[in-house]
Amino acid sequence: MKDSNARVFTATVVAVVSPQSKDGLVATLSGLSRAGLRAVVISLGNDPEPARRDQDGAIVIEGLVPKYLDNAVASLRLSSLPTLVWWRAEDPEMLTSLAALVDRVVLDVEDPSRFWPLVPDIAAVASVSDVRWARLTRLREVLAQFFDIPEVRASASIFDAVRIAGRDPFQARLAAGWLRSRLPAGKRLSVRFERGVSAPVESLQLSGGNVTLGIRLLPDSRCMETSAQIGAAPASVRVVAAGDPQPESLIAEELRVRSRDLAFEDAVRAAGEWSNAVEQS
């Protein structure tokens, strides 16, 4: 029996995963599939002809041999509408060739060291980003808003130190890479990373001359405290919303982006150039 409800599709989201991380993803993508997306979950394995089944609105294929990944995606994507690949498999095999078939690739792997060097190749054929970058969006917005203050903007070239604390050194590298690639004197920015436990990035402090800008995630992770210290004046402290870190929200945001993300590509490049010099404490 056919589904009697008329559906409006806007895009295909294909999650490529390692077998063990499939179940949580199906639940996440089911939420997206209710909002106009065709959700596909493909776990990689050794099966050349795995069964296809529908689970909670998502199409699930388990154990597919990687070399058939391109074919599977080509046959499942909605024609004429964008396709986003959410890459969660630890092996980058097939990623570059798959990128040529889709519109956007979002990396979401534990250790991106082997993936970030591939970014220029992927960017040549599709838009590319990293879920860590999406998680940084809110922090970047807030930090950028500091630069609307004339005194801060005027001091943009004097910032020379950034201190980042958090659980995820890769996310910290990406944040610092972004600052190094965007600030006028970014190349001489010294970076200090402090290992944290509660969130990928818990705080960031950017300083130079008599200006110190700070962002700190509050304990419940729903809000951030921002502070701007300019000269001898008392620090201006505000609390702002921290953004939704749930995977479905991050992927939904990524789906809104159609163009190439040069800021991300620059940040990854900058992160690679100086990562060895990062001081850790």
Partner: protein, 506 residues
């Protein structure tokens, strides 16, 4: 000064710089129901700058804490948010101030200047006049005299939001504009029409100008006529006093329906900029022929609802509503046939109707296309071919539908109309923002695309005022009526039938 180095490549929508919102009428209904919830939602969705303050101004004897309490209550009641322990709500509340006083007292404005200097020095300031229209000129005058409308640099912009109605006729609209222009440049004035903040209304421009397939057929060669309906099931509710002086023509047609009409009829703007869009809308409005009120070529009808049934409830007639004059001739329904003097629309009627106590709450634009020039299926299919329809649902179910003919399954060639529907609610993950969120943010950013310009307002009044004047002069004649729960009076049906058309049954 150089560009913000960190915004480069940041994929966020434009956000206002450091700013303060000054709400006149801070203890009123609009503030509690719409403005404060909208501000909270904007903060929640990261659209406000960290340096954002709110100053409430009103006659009511509140203090800062009282205003904060009202803010929290408003969130609870109208935004469905429990502000207790909500850090975003608390962060906004910390930066809220309240000034109590007489809006005509210069001392109030001196105190306001001091408050702005204390909590928002160097910021832009948006003055929101959430007050009865009659008070707007006085507040504008006092702001000007106090030097609060002066902009010393780009960051310290000053803007004012004025709520409708913008006058009650052409003369009062001109006078209001003259008074506002005495202290504000037109670029500082934001006349708000909440219809323009609705997602589907904004989508109209995207639909028309971001798609190549519609514009070639968007003209008299292909379109037979256009129907714009804004129907309400409610009566006058608590607005009887205002409504008695306004009526459907001035409450709905002069602003909302004229805005919708111009969005359908406008030529493509050269760019999506405020002035370009508003120029083209004005062109369309200026092309509307004056409306004939009487005689054989009559192009407008009015009516008043009688007692009847709506949504399964028995409802009183307009004349029995509280605070309504028992011999009132105020219209609760208006139907119009408008013709435009333009190459694109010559000969295409635009039918507009709006009313209270109609069977269904809906606002839609229906564009009916010509039938095919040759009916080749006439001999094989019993049913006549229905003309194609493009329907834009503005509210409540925002979306776009197309009606076209399809073959009925079977061995015989039989035709039937089918609908293809796009519904906002089904297609997108993001929640549709409230109109006030969109418009408030636009005013803070300085984007006036969705606000009415003075010449649009005056041109609209120039079309509507003669109709109202004629009706007022004819007060002795009984106004037609329709039963509550019906789609208007028989005269409205005759208005479109005269051109061989009929209103859509919604």
């Amino acid at each position: 000064m150089a560009q913000n180095p960190l915004f480069d490549g940041l994929r966020i929508e434009p956000a206002p710089g450091p700013s303060a919102l000054v709400i006149f009428g801070a203890s009123g209904d609009l503030t509690r129901r719409k403005l404060l919830p909208a501000i909270y939602q904007l903060a929640r969705s990261h659209r406000l700058p960290p340096a954002f303050s709110i100053i409430g101004v009103a006659k009511s004897p509140l203090d800062d804490d009282g205003f904060r309490k009202q803010f929290r209550e408003s969130l609870k009641e109208f935004a469905g948010v429990d502000p207790a322990g909500d850090p975003v709500a608390e962060s906004l509340a910390v930066h809220m101030r309240y000034l109590s006083g007489d809006l005509s007292d210069p001392a109030l404005y001196r105190a306001l200047a001091n408050s702005i200097e204390a909590i928002a020095a160097g910021s832009g300031v948006l003055f929101y006049l959430a007050i009865p229209p009659v008070l707007a000129p006085e507040v504008g005058e006092q702001l000007g005299r106090a030097g609060l409308t002066r902009e010393s640099n780009a960051a310290t912009w000053r803007r004012v939001v004025v709520e409708k109605p913008f006058g009650t006729d052409l003369a009062t609209a001109r006078e209001l504009n003259r008074l506002l222009h005495a202290h504000f440049d037109e670029s500082q004035i934001y006349r708000i029409d909440h219809y323009l903040g609705k997602e589907t209304v904004q989508n109209l421009m995207v639909f028309r100008f971001a798609n190549g397939m519609f514009e070639p057929i968007w003209n008299r060669r292909y379109i037979d006529h256009v129907q714009i309906t804004a129907a309400e099931t409610v009566g006058v509710e608590r607005r009887a006093r205002y409504y008695e002086g306004a009526g459907a023509l001035r409450d709905m047609v002069q602003n909302h329906l004229m805005q919708l009409l111009t969005l359908i009829a406008m030529e493509p703007p050269v760019a999506f900029t405020a002035e370009s869009v508003r120029d083209r809308k004005l062109d369309a409005l200026m092309a509307v022929q004056p409306v004939v009120v009487d005689g054989e070529r009559r192009a407008v009808v009015r009516a008043q609802y009688r007692a009847g049934w709506v949504d399964g409830q028995e409802v009183p007639g307009y004349l029995s509503e509280p605070q309504v004059d028992p011999i009132s001739t105020t219209e609760t329904f208006v139907g119009l046939r408008l013709m435009l003097d333009s190459w694109r629309w010559a000969g295409v009627p635009f039918y507009l109707r709006t009313g209270k106590r109609l069977p269904k709450r809906t606002t839609e634009i229906a564009i009916q296309f010509h039938r095919p020039p040759l009916e080749i299926f006439k001999r094989v299919s019993a049913s006549p071919v229905a003309p194609n329809l493009l329907i834009i649902n503005v509210q409540p179910d925002e979306g776009i539908s197309v009606r076209f003919e399809a073959k009925l399954p079977g061995t015989r060639m039989q035709l039937a109309p089918v609908m293809m529907k796009f519904a906002y609610g089904d297609a997108f993950i993001r929640a549709v923002p409230e109109a006030y969120e969109t418009l408030l943010l636009d005013a803070l950013i300085g984007d006036s695309t969705l606000f009415a310009r003075h010449d649009f307002v005056e041109t609209s009044w120039a079309l509507v005022s003669p109709i109202h004047d004629a009706w007022r002069a004819d007060a002795a004649t009984a106004i037609p009526s329709y039963e509550a729960g019906e789609w208007g009076p028989a005269e409205a049906h005759a208005l479109v039938a005269a051109q061989g058309h009929r209103w859509r049954t919604l």
